[in-house]
Amino acid sequence: MADVKIGAYICKGCGLGDRLDTAQLAKIATSEGKAAVAREHEFLCNAEGVAMIQNDIDNEGVNRVVIGACSRRAKTDAFNFEGVAIGRANLREGVIWIRPDTDEARETTQEMADDYMRMGCMEVRHMTPPAANEEASRNPNILIAGGGISGMTAALEAAAAGYPVTIVEKSGQLGGAAAGFHRRVPDRAPYADPMETGIDEMARSIEENPNITVHLNSRIAKTSGAPGRFSADIATESGSTRTENFGAIIMATGFTPYDASQLPEFAYGKSPDVVDQMGLEKLVKEADGGAIKRPSDGKPVERVVFVQCAGQRSDKKGHLPYCSGHCCVTSIKQAMYFKDQNPQIDTNVIYTDLRTPGAPGEDFYRSGQRKGVTFTKGKVSEVVPGGSALQVKFKDLILDDDVSEEADLVVLATGLVPNSGVDIDPQVAAKAEEGEEGESAQEAKVEIPVESILNLDYRQGPDLPHLKYGFNDSHFICFPYETRRTGIYTAGPVRRPMDIAQAREDATGAALKAIQALENASLGRAAHPRSGDLSFPSFRKEGCTQCKRCTVECPFGAIDEDEQRYPQFNEARCRRCGTCMGACPVRVISFENYSVDTVGQQIKNIDIPDEFSEKPRILVLACENDAYPALDMASMKHIEYSAFARVIPVRCLGSVNTIWVTDALNSGYDGVILMGCQKGDNYQCHFVKGSEMAHYRMSKIDDTLTQLNLETERVKTYEVAITDIQRAPQLINEMAETIEKIGMSPFKF
């Protein structure tokens, strides 16, 4: 660390100069923080202040910059210096805005600022300016698994943006499920009539596009690598395999229609006149513009009943627990096939909740009603095959009546099952076998033979992780296309149930994300959510015990194992969350600008007053994505919290190594609060599993506390959302009250 030269810059603007003794802060920076240069400035973020810092970097050899001013979330454009490590001591949002401007509070407020100054200096002392990933390589090719609506849309969009695309399609033709449709639900005003699917046109423009290569009757036998350097073996049915390299991958493998033969109560399979929605499309295609005939005896259909939610939205064994999203509008469309041909045909749609997503859906529903399609709110219990007609038995939910209706043809709206590959999450599987909750999840699970789609050679498994009901996990709230495998994006119904219009939109988004990922990879930068981050994890091989926790706990499957069974970090796959760093029991994993030391040294260098001073210290490790901004916003509202708290932002709560907590307790902190994001199925964690991991690890902390003879209340882990502006400071104050009650920590030296 011979060449470390710290420059500390303290701003006196925004009231900092009035409230704090900045000269003392500068003194602390030089004496305790070992800063070579410490300067105060009236208005640090203006051009003059920034120029002053830049001048020190250029002429004084300052390579570590500590800015004692506002929160690290503010003025990021001004305080952005190339080639140096930057630390921010949060004196404004973290100190003066959350403390009252009174004489009594002055002392503790100044102590708070002093500590943040020390922490800032210690953080940068242990940081190195990140350099780009050496592994970086650019490959503009995009691989798309699946040639349906989603796959074709993604291909056309990516090709139009100038990126070569390869489509791998399992079947012998492009079009996927939609190729079997007679017409599609309209996507333009007045949303009144079914329209042409446009599949042929799309397939034609794909064939004509020199940027798109299509492999039919093919599958992906193996995928390896990382964004910017994926390698895929494309195997054709005939047995030949070719290996190609890609920058990014889009998985648009769509869905399989639910197997209606699992619904014996609706006579599917018993009577040929009971069909599913795909079956009806086939009948209509066969009729080729003529009267639609029923399969049993070829008699033109005069009465048709549509049974909505057949085997869906049900917790019965073998049924789909979710809504497939498209079936209501699809049934309306199919009823129109009949009504448009002959208004005298009776069409009855029996539904429990008619769901027609979006404004166009409502218009389409109204158009169906105008055409004379009858909509009955009811629950179908049984379809009984009779001599000349089927009897549909249902309960009319408006009239509270058990009714039987005759029909020539019954169409079951059976929904979709995602082609999402093998469920690789062993935790989920293990949980499903255990508890009660697990049991219902297992019942709800539909047994379909699954073969892997991507055949990834990743250590964590061959496919993308699932979230629920077999759909691939993608960050629903913040980053809908992002899966848990960097550089591989899902689009269409494999991600969540959706119709054609939504799938096209989805595919366009995924194509753009794929382009972004491969371009980021070529520059050695992270993809979302730390987009542009150049740092990446490295590990000290001599210290590694090969325990595999990092390879198992990485939410993104970025870490493989090399031949000697050491972890192999695939930088381009890494999202830089630091969950591996938090997992490592021997603490050998670190980033250039974020490591066990950058935080650990901050913790150790806070001034801890003795036991009798009545000045406790509370360490707050707050997720920089949600909890830290929540605290910042609280301070903007001048919501006060304890002057004894010291807040350190962390990349993700998953990166919190338990050593930080143990060290803090050992060095005399009275309380530790961990603030992460919401976990579970409705997670808000930017890194999906980080918060969950942290909560799991912290559930074991009680043993440590008991060993140290400390009260377990001294360590608390919370889920804090970015909107918890009132609650986040409240949690800190609660801890301060708790400490008042249970007394100070005995570990102060």
Partner: protein
């Protein structure tokens, strides 16, 4: 069963919805109901109806011809127009209720002792005779609507109000004999007769050709 009723049953067989669309004023709106229930919730008489509007519409679609037409529900409508104002699908619900009532009466299926229907008939007869409403006769005929002894009782109960109204010149006792008329009562009756003919002709020729 009236002749018209038999004819309609024949013509529409199972599709009561089609029958309603063709024969009931604003009946072609019934299919547009989306069963949200706002009309039923908005109706001030809601709890007193056997079948609120939403349910009537569902019954029509379900082909419950007999139940709908013999129901007293649509006769309960007070024309407050709350339902029309609130219907998200903009169905003219009040008009449909009156249309259904009229159609039921025309078929002879309306409930026999329906007071609203009785009153409406008396009002119409009273009005169409002279072209002017004879309030004294209409009032008294209403008192005696449910029998002689009840009529006497009601008359005695209302006596003071009647006398005060006379004093205030709001009620003319001479209306009991003849009463006032419009200028050309005969002409008015001819107009009404013609209108009736046109209406019946329309009914006879309406409906889907099956």
């Amino acid at each position: 069963m009236s002749d018209l009723n038999t004819q309609m049953v024949e013509q529409y067989r199972n599709s009561f919805l089609r029958e309603v669309e063709a024969n009931v004023e604003e009946g072609d709106w019934v299919k547009m109901c989306m069963q949200c229930g706002v009309c039923s919730g908005s109706c001030p008489f809601g709890p007193h109806w056997e079948h609120p509007p939403q349910e009537l519409f569902m019954m029509i679609r379900a082909g419950k011809r007999e139940e709908v037409l013999t129901s007293s529900s649509m006769w309960m409508c007070t024309s407050c127009y709350n339902c029309i104002v609130r219907c998200p699908r903009e169905l003219p619900i009040t008009h449909i209720m009156h249309g259904l009532a009229t159609y039921a009466k025309r078929l002879g299926m309306a409930p026999k002792e329906q007071p609203t229907m009785k009153f409406a008939q008396k009002f119409w007869d009273n009005l169409s005779k002279t072209g002017r409403v004879n309030e004294l006769k209409l009032g008294i005929s209403l008192y005696f609507m449910n029998g002689f002894s009840e009529g006497v009782k009601t008359s005695l109960k209302m006596k003071d109000i009647g006398l005060n109204m006379m004093k205030a010149k709001r009620l003319n006792p001479m209306e009991a004999v003849g009463g006032h008329k419009c200028k050309d009562a005969k002409g008015l009756q001819a107009i009404l007769k013609k209108a009736q003919e046109i209406e019946e002709g329309r009914i006879a020729n309406s409906g889907y050709a099956k």
